[in-house]
Symmetry: C2
Subunit: 99 residues, 2 copies
DNA sequence: ATTGATGTTCGTGTTTTTACGATCTGGACT
DNA sequence: AGTCCAGATCGTAAAAACACGAACATCAAT
């Protein structure tokens, strides 16, 4: 396809996109939690984090748009977990990036 | 010291800071180049990249402030190279982050 | 049907990022 | 001294990130 919309390679764009998802300590915290326990509800995170729930929703959306997590509606709650395929992709790209 | 200025751990802050440095494809490109060849002049990069020199300076400053590169004045030119200790630190943190 | 709990979305304001040209600084060479 | 080149810094403008409360939607009980 080679949609050359930018002067950068696909790989460079992906590294930047995944890195951007990790570029806020709150999102790092969220991801750490989701890797420790397989899944987690919005509400459980909101309890432990010193932010408004709307702010948490925004950060979860950033992570979802980056492809690192996925959300699933479970009754009245929303359950989030790591998007494994993309997580592996990100890990591979970043480990490769650091030689 | 424990300057608890944020509710996050030092490690989380560092991961976010290093990731933020990688969160733009241009900066990814710069770092890729600096890892391939040990050092590189501002001017050499400016030739190959589709951006104004002032913009390049800004991105180099972001990378320097994050601690990933260091600059050295060499006659009329400025020579940049990877900051090895911090590069290793970033690699360790990110590889650890991805399990 | 009403209520209550759970999250998302909307609207707002503040701050940061990104990009550029123009200006300034400092070395090298006449 | 004067000139040229390399880069940094300044000033500006547009866009995006961040945070919050208010309003909205949805499910699950009552």
């Amino acid at each position: 396809m080679s949609t050359a919309t930018t002067p950068f390679t696909e790989k460079q764009e992906l590294i930047a996109r995944f890195s951007n998802a990790l570029a806020h300590p709150l999102r790092v915290t969220i991801l750490e939690r989701l890797t420790r326990q397989s899944c987690c509800y919005h509400g459980d995170m909101a309890e432990d984090l010193p932010i408004a729930k709307s702010t948490l929703s925004q950060h979860l959306k950033v992570l979802k748009d980056a492809g690192l997590i996925q959300g699933e509606i479970d009754g009245p709650k929303t359950k989030y977990c790591i998007n494994r395929p993309n997580w592996s992709l990100a890990r591979g790209l970043l480990i490769g990036f650091f030689d």
